[in-house]
């Protein structure tokens, strides 16, 4: 692979890397026919982000076709290449990215002003395919807003806050912090904002849903969107279905997919009044969730054979996949060990554990059914133990 990024796009690439670092510790790099994909996932697999840079983003983009190369590296190493954004802006003229397969190295060469050349040779590891399967176009609720609106909304929540709940009706969106298992509701501070539909560029709420997700991971996207000025699109569906946030322009697309808490009727609200006693969510009943359209697929094989090949190269519009059980079944490989662990979760576990269970647990039928379960969209294959990262 050999590509060249010039001018202002170097800073955009750097910002994408920095915003991916808010999600996970590793950067997954996959040069594809339709562009360079940079991805990251958090350790509990409840947040996933992908930036796809089209060939036109680069002043030169050449890959060995049919190569199916992918790798991962510590995201801190890549961040050190793009350490100072202001310096990048002022001095970097172009950035070459070259892959050296013999030495297992990815080389970033920054050509800077005043004849300064910065070369970073970063070692990488082979990696499994990392691709979230989600179909945001099928989601009931779609919104688009200028990043400023969302930034101004999240600024009201303390940085330590884990989760927010977003509820939508025909004309309004409410955002409030999620308070769970609080022994005394009086000790908790509830913050709630209400956004009217006319504050958005696009507001289509077909289903009045209420979803709860982790705010921290969202902030990474907001920083990117704000600095590039791109509007943010949000796709919300039922609780349990991940929320998808994306930024798009003609040469790049970024998608942040965040898990949401599964359905809790007590969280639905019709009034804008806050301060209700948050009933603990019902015990996780994995069989009740409808998981068709959003499995996070972890292909655990290092060297994928033809039958294990990752999904067909995603189109420029992102990692969308139609709801075809057959396609899903190729990729739904879940760790039984992990999922079993989740089933014994007590409700006091940290929220992110709950999120993890949503991705994996509900796909796992009780073990007795494994062999007899017909091939449905909830296909689960017992995999060998994955070398975690």
């Amino acid at each position: 692979m050999h590509c060249i990024v010039t001018g202002g796009n170097v800073k955009v690439l750097a910002k994408a890397v920095h915003s991916l670092s808010r999600i996970g510790d590793e950067l997954y790099v996959e040069p594809q026919e339709d562009g360079l994909a940079l991805r990251s996932v958090n350790s509990s697999r409840s947040a996933y982000a992908c930036f796809l840079f089209a060939p036109l983003f680069f002043s030169r983009y050449s890959i060995t076709s049919g190569d199916n190369f992918r790798c991962k590296m510590a995201i801190k190493s890549v961040q050190s290449v793009f350490r100072s954004l202001t310096t990048l802006e002022k001095t970097v003229e172009k950035c070459h990215i070259d892959l050296d397969k013999q030495k297992d190295r990815l080389t970033f060469t920054l050509h800077c002003k005043h004849g300064l050349l910065k070369t970073h040779n970063l070692s990488f590891q082979d990696s499994e395919s990392l691709q979230a399967v989600f179909d945001k176009d099928s989601y009931a609720n779609v919104f688009r807003a200028q990043p400023r609106l969302l930034v101004d909304t999240v600024v009201h929540f303390p940085p330590s806050l884990d989760e927010v709940t977003m509820s939508v009706s025909d004309e309004r969106m409410w955002v409030r912090n999620h308070v769970e298992d609080e022994p005394e509701a009086s000790k908790a501070m509830l913050t709630e904002l209400c956004l009217a539909s006319d504050e958005f560029d696009h507001f289509a709420a077909q289903a009045h849903n209420s979803v709860t997700f982790c705010l921290k991971e969202l902030r990474g996207l907001l920083v990117f969107a704000e600095s590039t000025g791109l509007p943010v699109s949000m796709y919300l569906d039922e609780p349990g279905s991940p929320v998808v946030l994306s930024v798009t322009d003609s040469v790049l697309e970024g998608n942040f997919v965040l898990a949401t808490l599964s359905d809790d009727p007590s969280l639905r609200k019709n009034s804008s009044k806050g301060a209700h006693t948050a009933a603990p969510p019902p015990p996780d009943d994995f069989m009740n969730d409808d998981m068709d359209s959003y499995l996070i697929a972890m292909d655990t094989s290092i060297a994928p054979g033809p039958s294990n090949t990752g999904p067909p190269p995603p189109s420029l519009s992102g990692d969308t996949r139609s709801k075809r059980p057959a396609a899903v079944s190729h990729k739904a490989r879940i760790l039984i060990e992990e999922a079993e662990e989740e089933e014994t979760d007590d409700l006091d576990r940290l929220p992110n554990k709950k999120f993890r269970s949503l991705f994996f647990g509900s796909v796992l039928p009780p073990s007795s059914q494994l062999s007899t379960q017909p091939m449905t969209s909830q296909e689960v294959l017992a995999s060998d133990s994955e070398e975690e990262n």
Partner: protein
């Protein structure tokens, strides 16, 4: 000025008297070499030299010429003592080191000789402070035997671009490798850290390169921990000269302009790391 009238009669007993209208002209440059507590002060009629050393492998010198001082009187050929540099800097900044324009701390530094403390009279806004700092027997500074005749490679760079490189250096690398060559890559700084290696190449035709005189290709490694303190001097400077001699010893010389635009020098000498690999 209150300070000078105060000790007019005592001047006879001091072997060294140095006056500065702006103590920052001394304290700023001393900050560039404060990586160890103790410093050796050496004064001659030319001025003041302050030396700090580390593990016998690194030496930093700050030169403040006699002309920088409003008064510089020395009654012996050589006056030398060792002193706690951190304490000295604390005293020089005793008025809080404000940078209000027009307001500065005036300094009168007096030394009676061997065994006596260094006396500092500091004045700001009419308030006078007297500090007496104990001195010690001065150790002999290491002579790195670095002389211009043995210099194989020399470049002079504008500090601006080197500052950028130093601020980005991979600190997980134990060494900083410097390659100087009459051919590509001309002047290269390399690190070998956890993530991989990184190279910063300065072309000889760069407009940041004021002087480029390299006679042979040399690659030397220096312990990162030893060179890290030199970043302070780099930050203050506007130009830096990098020289290596035939043994691979490194000399970094920084041109520093003080508040009043006067020139002072800071230099660092560093031994190469034991295992030298020729690239």
């Amino acid at each position: 000025m209150p300070l000078s009238t105060q000790s007019q009669g005592d001047d006879e007993q001091y072997v060294l008297v140095a006056n500065l209208d702006n103590a920052r002209n001394l304290s700023n440059i001393l900050k560039a070499i404060t990586f160890k507590d103790h410093a050796i002060f050496t004064a001659t009629t030319n001025g003041l030299k302050v030396t700090v050393e580390d593990s016998k492998c690194l030496q930093a010198n700050a030169f403040i010429q006699a002309e920088i001082f409003q008064e510089f009187t020395i009654r012996e050929d050589l006056v030398a003592f060792q002193i706690n540099l951190t304490v000295l800097l604390d005293c020089l900044n005793i008025f809080g080191g404000t940078t209000t324009p027009g307001v500065s701390t005036a300094l009168r530094m007096c030394y009676k000789g061997y065994g006596y403390p260094l006396t500092l009279f500091l004045e700001e806004g009419g308030v006078v402070t007297v500090c007496k700092i104990n001195t010690q027997e001065p150790e002999e500074p290491i002579d790195f035997e670095f002389c211009s005749t043995n210099v194989t490679n020399k470049v002079i760079l504008q500090s601006e671009s080197l500052k950028e490189a130093f601020s980005e250096l991979d600190m997980t690398s134990e060494v900083l490798q410097i390659t100087m060559s009459p051919s590509q890559p001309y002047f290269r700084l390399s690190t070998f850290g956890n993530a991989g290696n990184a190279h910063y190449d300065y072309s000889k035709d760069s407009d940041m390169m004021e002087l480029f005189k390299c006679t042979e290709t040399q690659t030397n490694r220096y312990k990162m921990s030893l060179l890290k303190p030199s970043t302070k001097a780099l930050a203050l400077s506007c130009k830096v000269s990098v020289r290596t001699d035939n043994r691979g010893f490194l000399s970094l010389q920084y041109l520093v302009r003080n508040d009043d635009g006067q020139i002072c020098f800071v230099e660092y000498y560093c031994c190469p790391d034991e295992e030298v690999e020729e690239n």
